[in-house]
Amino acid sequence: MKKIIFFLLGIVCCVSCSNESQVAVYEPIPMVIETPSNFPDISYNLDNNPITQAGFELGKKLFYDGKLSSNNAIACAFCHEQAFAFTHHGHNLSHGVNGGIGFRNAQPIQNLAYQTSFMWDGSASHLDLQPIIPITSELEMGESLSNVIQKLSAEPYYQEQFTRAFNDGEINTENMLKALSQFMVAMVSSNSKYDKFIRNEDNVTFTALEANGLSTFETKCAGCHASSLFTDQTFRNNGLSINPQLNDLGRYNIGNNPNDLYKFKVPSLRNVEVSFPYMHDGRFTTLEAVLEFYNSGITDNGNVDESLLKDDGTYGIDLSDYEKESLIAFLKTLTDYEFLNDERFAEF
């Protein structure tokens, strides 16, 4: 009799144990994202989407999963590689499914929680909704949200991880987008040489060239590339000649407002050393070419930003050779090797 009871007890234990290991539960373990002391306040509303370990992990998995695209091969990470500040290494325009080629240069993914709009033309006004654009673009990932959800629902990993990450545990668009945001909100680049210099950390000092570059930057560039984000988040026409093949009207596409013709969002300059090529269409491959453009290459396309108007009535920012050299030295202090090599964001 005793033996039978033990035997039964054993069975009960086994069953309860195996149950525990199989059934995933919601794991609301918070992941704290601290705002660096030299940053402005966070724009992303964390109350609606608190970051958890499980949500971050889910977001990372989704970011690296080709199933978000129609041919199951083009993940977000395809155009957003960590080593290049999550840009599409060397490509002027993004490549997508079925040989599609996008219209613009892939932007870095960093400090997005501090941004109020996304994409070169600001077409996404909330970080959660931004991924819909590349996922559903025929030229990029060419997939539908419902198909993505269907594919994810079939996978045991996602069945468990959505349960761990969200209270309702549902595999739906809302939770998928929230997970992607949790991953992206955590992607903060704030430990470049510049940051440490500004925050007086680790006895970091600037060379004379870097210091002169910073000083030139503050006089001639920081009007638009403002704050520790290195963007004032406005949309401006910087006088690039119009590429007739693309004829990209910029922010004009959003509201058909003639004042918005050829305007693009002022990009952050963090990690600019590794996020080449530059401009919305990736037309400049080096920082030297960018600075020479501001010095001598601006085209009056009818709507150039006032801040670029010179006393003689032409557009541009006069830069001597030394100023260009020092500016580039300064811009390289914005490279954040900790961020570029942070294993939390790496695929493997």
């Binding site: 006004s125 819909i132 654009i133 739906n172 668009t173 809302e174 945001s181 058909n256």
Partner: protein, 267 residues
């Protein structure tokens, strides 16, 4: 004897009237804890005609149009009862796509609202499109709606925004025949808010009870999209309406005037 009969009659009258007055004043129908189902039936038409895909409809200025795609988003539905209390349908489920392609043979598209507090309702309010507050929440509270909107072609993928109404077809006038007609109106990010709300009174009270599921028959006059508060012409650029800051608010206002409650079914 006669007196007795009269006295009985009087007594009876007193009892009856006493009882009935008791009912009215001290025993009102107890609705607490009761809820029921309310159905909004959307019935698209063009003026005094039923709306039918591919049929040619005339508008002002010798222009005409045929439509083969007609959808709009209805959200934030709430009803007001005879005591002035408003019942708001729960936010997370309060966005719907009325798609003519989903209509029954009578051309009606149903929005069924469950768990509505039992009451006598006198008016309904709803929005056309998605309000800025909801949109600003990002993924929060969208549930499956983004997916549904995308599947229904009501999402601008390039702008991550909703199309509030979608009319696709062709138009003709004195100079052109069967040119493309595409009205895709929505809000544009946070810079252009085209969300509008309408309030419609009921011709008689709508009685929601545990055992009574009334239906509100709403007629939507599609002709008002073009000949509404403002008359617009395809020849003047209203054949293609997408994100224009002048055109879209005019269409949004016209659309907010196209709904009327035709009748109520209390059962």
């Amino acid at each position: 004897m006669k007196t007795l009969k009269f006295a009985f009659a009087l007594l009876l009258c007193t009892i009856i009237s006493a009882c009935s007055s008791d009912d009215d004043a001290n025993n009102p129908e107890d609705l607490s804890g009761q809820n029921g189902t309310l159905t909004l039936k959307f019935d698209n038409g063009v003026g005094d005609q039923d709306f039918i895909f591919g049929t040619n409809y005339n508008k002002s200025n010798n222009e005409s149009y045929k439509v083969d795609n007609l959808k709009y988003i209805i959200s934030n539905i709430r009803v007001k009862d005879s005591n002035g209390n408003t019942f708001m349908y729960p936010d997370e489920n309060n966005a719907f796509i009325v798609d003519e392609a989903d209509a029954n043979n009578a051309g009606e598209i149903y929005i069924t609202l469950n768990n509505i507090d039992a009451a006598d309702y006198t008016e309904v309010t709803f929005g056309i499109g998605i309000d800025q507050e909801r949109f600003a929440l990002g993924a929060e509270g969208q549930g499956d709606f983004l997916e549904l909107a995308e599947a229904k072609g009501m999402l601008w993928s390039w702008a991550a925004g909703y199309k509030f109404i979608r009319i696709d077809g062709t138009y003709s006038n004195n100079t052109v025949i069967n040119e493309p007609l595409n009205i895709h109106m929505g809000s544009v990010g946070s810079s252009l808010d085209n969300y509008k709300e309408v309030t419609l009174s009921f011709p008689n009270t709508v009685r929601v009870r545990q055992d009574a599921s009334p239906e509100i028959h709403i007629k939507s006059d599609i002709s008002k999209v073009f000949d509404g508060t403002t008359t617009v012409n395809f020849a003047d650029g209203y054949d293609q309406v997408h994100v224009d800051a002048v055109e879209t608010p005019i269409i949004a206002t016209n659309i907010s005037g196209m709904f009327e409650v035709h009748h109520i079914h209390n059962d």
